[in-house]
């Protein structure tokens, strides 16, 4: 390691870089949990574990959400203290907008789709 590197910035004392202490235990825990949380949904779908498709969909979506949380905590080192809490604040705000985007789009367009179904002759005659 060369101490006098020319591309280091003057104010670059490395506090923030060293602030996130990655540990082998953290990565290992995250990895084992991820492997389990990846294997279960693949097994559920490929082994046709549940009779009803809706049950399968709900279960694998829930497991996916848990796995995203695991990655956030163990791999992205997300906590309330990183960057003085601003990372978490930005994440919460983003998640809020993502939920609005996803549920809003699906909800609105599902109803639009439903209302644009081909009409029968009877429906047509009953139109105002």
């Amino acid at each position: 390691m060369n101490a006098h590197s020319q591309d280091a910035l003057p104010h670059d004392d490395g506090h923030a870089v060293q602030a996130s202490h990655a540990t082998l235990r953290g990565y290992a825990t995250g990895f084992v949990l991820s492997v389990i949380l990846t294997a279960i949904p693949f097994w559920i779908v490929m082994g046709k574990v549940f009779e009803r498709p809706n049950t399968t969909a709900l279960v694998i979506l829930a497991i996916g959400a848990v796995q995203i949380l695991v990655h956030m905590v163990y791999f992205l080192h997300m906590n309330t203290r990183s960057e003085g809490g601003w990372s978490l604040l930005a994440l919460v705000f983003t998640l809020m907008l993502v939920v609005i985007t996803l549920s809003g789009s699906v909800w609105v367009l599902y109803h639009l789709n439903h209302n644009m179904m081909p009409m029968s002759v009877q429906d047509m005659n009953n139109m105002p």
Binding site: D7, T38, F75, T94
Partner: protein
Amino acid sequence: MTAGTSAGAAPRYYLTGEHHPENGTLLGFWLYLMSDCFIFSALFATYGVLGRNYAAGPSGADLFDLPMVALNTSLLLLSSITYGFAVLEMQRDRARTMLIWLAVTGLLGAGFIGLELSEFAHMIQDGAGPQRSAFLSSFFTLVGTHGLHVTFGIVWLVTLMFQVGKHGLSQANRRRVMCLSMFWHFLDVVWIGVFTFVYLMGSIR
């Protein structure tokens, strides 16, 4: 943070609020990732709306090869943990082993991209290209955008390996390693959404 103790009326300065982050780069990069998250949420919403409009063409259950997707998923997951090992080696100031782990990460990423491209090629060859149906258009846009991100991640990774080789583990290079770490793990998070929402849910009959 005292301005002086000689004069009794001298103003004293001290911070009352949160300590300002010393280095804004990591927070700024995190904000970039959040904006990237918006791109993916729009593409996921598009897929959620159009994903069942097959236009009398093939459905996900016809097209998706789940064992291949499982292999792809494990490649990306393994690359996440190998990047973690690279970060751990960096914290121990061992540049050489860090570079080896970064190379392993890059190879796993390249394997992921290779498998995805061969999947795309097969689908297009079978007449299931992006122009076939709304489902396939949204599928190729969403999965392709993720693949493009991984590709650029690999380009960045190779560039970073050369920078570390030339300048060693300088503070600037450490910061870059941490930024790419966030980028790489973030792409793995997006992939969780893709394999759950697109591949697995699309394969349920």
